[in-house]
C-alpha cells in the first residue's frame, strides 16, 4: 500500500494530485461500500472486526438502504476505525461520544439511517451514561458493540467486560471488578431490540443487523470478537482461529433467554456463551413521541 502524503493546497499541480474516487479494484463484492483507498485496514491478523464490518455491509446491501441515506458513527478504539473504511457519511468522534453525536445527527436528520459502530470500552466505560440514556429515550438508531473483552488499541488493558481471571496489562496481579452483562444493561435501559452473536455466527449476525436496520427505535447488538493480540493470547485463545473454535464449541443459541440470565462467566475467560435475539419489541421512538407532543403544542398555540 502506498501511503498518500498530504498535498499542498496551493501547489500548481494540485488538481493532478486529487485522488481518483470510486476506482474499484474489483476484488470484493462490497467494494461499493468501502473507501477502497483506505484498504487494507489497520486491524491485526485474527481480529474479528473484518468479519463484523463485512456482516454490517452485507446487511446494508440486503436492506435496500441507499448508501447516501446511511451514516456510521464511531468512537475511539479499534472498532472506532470502522467509520473510516465505510464509504458513507461517517464520523469518527471522541472516546465514548459516538452515541450523543449520533443522537444529534439522527434527530437533526430523521431520514438518515444511523449506526453506531464501536467497542465495549468506548460504549460501556467512558460512554456508558450516554448508552443508557439513548436507550431510555429510544432514539431511532442502531448500536453495534464489538466486545473483545479488553482495550485493544491501547495495548490490552482491563475494561468493563473483562472477566476477573483474565490477565491484562493493568491487572498484573489479577482482576477483581465484575464485568457487565451487556444485553441486560441494554434491555434494562429500554432498548427495543437486543441480540448477542459472535464472529462465528455470521449468517445470524447479518440477519440481526438487517432486522436492526429495518427496525424503528434503539437497537443493540453485542458481537463477541477475537482479539488475539491484546487479549486472546493471554487467556489461551492464541489466534483468531482458536477463538472461533471456542465460540463454535461453547455457544448455545437461545432466542428466548432472559437478558438478565445471559451474563458470561464473570471470572473465567472461557465459558458457556448464550447467543441469540433476546429482545424484539415495539415501542414509540423518541422522534415519534416528541412529534406528538409538539403537534399538540402547535394546535394549542394555533400555528401550523
Amino acid at each position: 500500500m502506498s501511503i498518500r502524503k498530504s498535498r499542498d493546497w496551493f501547489s500548481p499541480d494540485y488538481m493532478e494530485q486529487k485522488p481518483k474516487k470510486g476506482a474499484s479494484h474489483g476484488l470484493h463484492p462490497l467494494d461499493n461500500y468501502l473507501r477502497k483507498d483506505r484498504i487494507p485496514h489497520i486491524w491485526c491478523p485474527g481480529c474479528g472486526l473484518g468479519i463484523i464490518l463485512n456482516a454490517y455491509l452485507r446487511a446494508l446491501k440486503d436492506s435496500d438502504i441507499a448508501p447516501e441515506d446511511t451514516a456510521v458513527v464511531s468512537g475511539i478504539g479499534c472498532s472506532g476505525r470502522a467509520a473510516g473504511y465505510v464509504d458513507v457519511d461517517s464520523f469518527h468522534v471522541t472516546h465514548g461520544r459516538a452515541i450523543p453525536f449520533a443522537t444529534g445527527l439522527k434527530v437533526g436528520k430523521r431520514d438518515l439511517v444511523t449506526t453506531v459502530f464501536s467497542g465495549d470500552g468506548d460504549l460501556f466505560a467512558i460512554g456508558g451514561n450516554h448508552f443508557i440514556h439513548a436507550a431510555r429515550r429510544n432514539v431511532d438508531f442502531n448500536v453495534i458493540c464489538v466486545n473483545n473483552f479488553n482495550y485493544g488499541m491501547t495495548g490490552g488493558q482491563a475494561g468493563p467486560t473483562t472477566p476477573t481471571e483474565a490477565p491484562t496489562s493493568t491487572t498484573p496481579w489479577g482482576g477483581f471488578e465484575q464485568p457487565f452483562n451487556l444485553p441486560a444493561v441494554a434491555a434494562g435501559a429500554g432498548a427495543v431490540y437486543v441480540a448477542r452473536w459472535t464472529t462465528y455466527h455470521v449468517e445470524e449476525l447479518i440477519k440481526s443487523l438487517k432486522e436492526a436496520l429495518d427496525k424503528k427505535g434503539f437497537c443493540f447488538i453485542e458481537i463477541l470478537s477475537p482479539c488475539p493480540t491484546g487479549y486472546g493470547r493471554k487467556v489461551g485463545l492464541k489466534t483468531g482461529v482458536t477463538t472461533m473454535k471456542h465460540f463454535k464449541e461453547n455457544c448455545v443459541v437461545d432466542n428466548d433467554a432472559d437478558p438478565t440470565e445471559v451474563g458470561l462467566d464473570p471470572n473465567k475467560p472461557k465459558s458457556k456463551i448464550i447467543v441469540g435475539k433476546f429482545v424484539d419489541r415495539e415501542a414509540p421512538t423518541y422522534q415519534d413521541e416528541r412529534g406528538k407532543v409538539f403537534e399538540a403544542a402547535r394546535k394549542k398555540l394555533g400555528v401550523e
Binding site: 474516487k21 468522534v93 450523543p100 445527527l105 451514561n129
Partner: protein, 388 residues
C-alpha cells in the same frame, strides 16, 4: 421569530431569541444555573418553529449532540455555565478539529468548581482560549447587555457558519439575568450567514480542502458526498494521517483561519480614548461600571478612556499596541478574576505603557467608585503595577 420592535427581556431570553432569529433549529443542553433560562425559553419556543430541543444526560452529550446536528445541516446551539463548560472542553476540541459550525453559550458564574452558582464572575476567559487540549484558533464574543445577548448570538451563528467552528458567546450571570430594553429588528434587516456548500461533484469533492479564506465548503450528512469526519489529524480528504506534514498543514490552517481573518472578525468599542492617558480595559458586565467610571474621572479632570473588547478572542492586540505608543501611559484592566486579560494587555503594550489590574473574585461587579479609586491611585503612583 419574535415580533420586531422593542421588548423588555432578560439576557438569557434575548440570547434564545437571537438564536431563533439566526436560524437555530437544534438545541441540546443540560440544566445549570445561571444558564437554564436559555434552555427553558428554547424548549418553550421550539414546537411552533419545528425545532429540536434535546435535554441531554450531561454537558458532554449536549455539545456532542449539537456537533452531530450541525453535520445534519442544522444550526445548533448549547448553553451552560462553568462546571458544564469544563465538561464541554473535550468536544469543543472535536468541533474545532472537525470544523463544525455551532454556538456554545457560557454564562460565567463564580468558580473554581461549583463555586458561586448564582453570582457573577469572569474566571473562564482563558478557558475559552486554552481550555481544550492542543493548539487552536477560537472566536469568543462577550456581550454587555441583553440587547447584545440578542445581537451577538446572531453574530456568533454567522461567524460559526462563515468560519466553520464552534463560536463561544461568553456571557456572565449579571448580563444574563439583567432585564432591559431589547430591540428586535425586522427579519429583512438581519444579516444571516449560511455555510458554504460544495461546488464540486461528490466524486471530486475534498471535504477539508479550503478556499482562499482557509475555510472549506461543507457537505452535510445525507447529501451524497460520503464525507468522513474524524477528530484525528486528517488530510483534505478527511482521512486520518500520522504524517507530520499533514499535522503541520492542518493545525496551521485551523489557527490561520482565525488569525488571518482577524480584521473581519475583530470587534471592540472605545469611549473617550482620543486623549486618554489612562485607558480602562473592561468587558461583559464590568464594562457597564467602567463606562461610568470614565465619566466620573473626566469630571474630576483625569484623562481616562475605555476600551471594550467585544471579541475577546481574537483580542484587539494591535489597537492596544498603537495606544501604548501614542499617549496612553497606563492601562487599567477591571475584570472579575485575579488577572486573565491583564496579561494579554501587558503583552500587547510590549513595555510601552504600564498595566494595572483591578481584580475581583466574583459575587458582584466592580462599582464605578472602586474603579475610580484605582484611577486616583494610579495617578498618584500609589499602586505598583500588577506584578509587584
Amino acid at each position: 421569530m419574535m415580533k420586531p420592535g422593542v421588548h423588555f427581556m432578560d439576557g438569557n431570553t434575548a440570547c434564545a431569541e437571537g438564536a431563533i432569529a439566526a436560524g437555530c433549529t437544534f438545541f441540546a443542553g443540560y440544566p445549570i444555573t445561571p444558564a437554564s433560562e436559555i434552555l427553558e425559553r428554547i424548549a418553550n419556543r421550539f414546537p411552533e418553529l419545528h425545532g429540536s430541543y434535546l435535554q441531554m444526560e450531561d454537558e458532554l452529550a449536549s455539545i456532542t449532540a449539537i456537533l452531530g446536528a450541525s453535520w445534519a445541516g442544522r444550526k445548533a446551539m448549547t448553553a451552560t455555565s462553568g462546571p458544564g463548560f469544563s465538561l464541554m472542553m473535550e468536544n469543543y476540541g472535536l468541533g474545532l478539529m472537525t470544523e463544525t459550525p455551532c454556538v456554545i453559550v457560557n454564562v460565567m458564574r463564580g468558580g473554581p468548581s461549583t463555586g458561586l452558582p448564582t453570582k457573577v464572575a469572569q474566571g473562564d476567559v482563558m478557558q475559552t482560549r486554552w481550555g481544550t487540549h492542543g493548539d487552536v484558533g477560537v472566536i469568543v464574543l462577550v456581550p454587555s447587555s441583553p440587547q447584545e445577548m440578542f445581537d451577538l448570538t446572531v453574530e456568533a451563528f454567522n461567524m460559526a457558519e462563515k468560519y466553520r467552528l464552534p463560536v463561544i458567546l461568553l456571557s456572565d450571570e449579571m448580563v444574563s439575568h439583567m432585564t432591559e430594553k431589547v430591540e428586535i429588528p425586522p427579519k429583512e434587516e438581519l444579516n444571516i450567514v449560511d455555510r458554504k456548500k460544495p461546488r464540486d461533484p461528490p466524486s471530486e469533492f475534498l471535504p477539508f480542502c479550503p478556499d482562499e479564506d482557509l475555510v472549506p465548503p461543507m457537505a452535510n450528512a445525507g447529501e451524497g458526498y460520503g464525507v468522513h469526519v474524524t477528530g484525528l489529524t486528517h488530510d483534505e480528504e478527511g482521512h486520518p494521517s500520522v504524517d507530520e506534514k499533514t499535522q503541520n498543514m492542518l493545525v496551521t490552517r485551523l489557527i490561520d483561519k482565525i488569525r488571518k481573518n482577524a480584521d473581519d472578525i475583530l470587534k471592540y468599542e472605545e469611549y473617550k480614548t482620543e486623549d486618554a492617558e489612562i485607558v480602562i480595559v473592561a468587558y461583559g458586565s464590568v464594562y457597564r461600571s467602567a463606562i461610568e467610571a470614565v465619566d466620573m474621572a473626566r469630571e474630576q479632570g483625569y484623562k481616562v478612556g475605555l476600551l471594550r473588547p467585544i471579541t475577546i478572542w481574537p483580542f484587539p492586540e494591535e489597537r492596544i499596541y498603537d495606544m501604548a505608543r501614542n499617549g496612553t501611559e497606563s492601562f487599567l484592566v477591571a475584570e472579575i478574576n485575579f488577572g486573565q486579560i491583564v496579561f494579554e494587555v501587558e503583552r500587547c503594550t510590549a513595555g510601552a505603557a504600564k498595566t494595572y489590574l483591578a481584580p475581583k473574585m466574583g459575587g458582584s461587579i466592580h462599582t464605578p467608585e472602586e474603579i475610580m479609586d484605582r484611577i486616583v491611585a494610579i495617578d498618584q503612583e500609589k499602586i505598583p503595577d500588577f506584578k509587584e
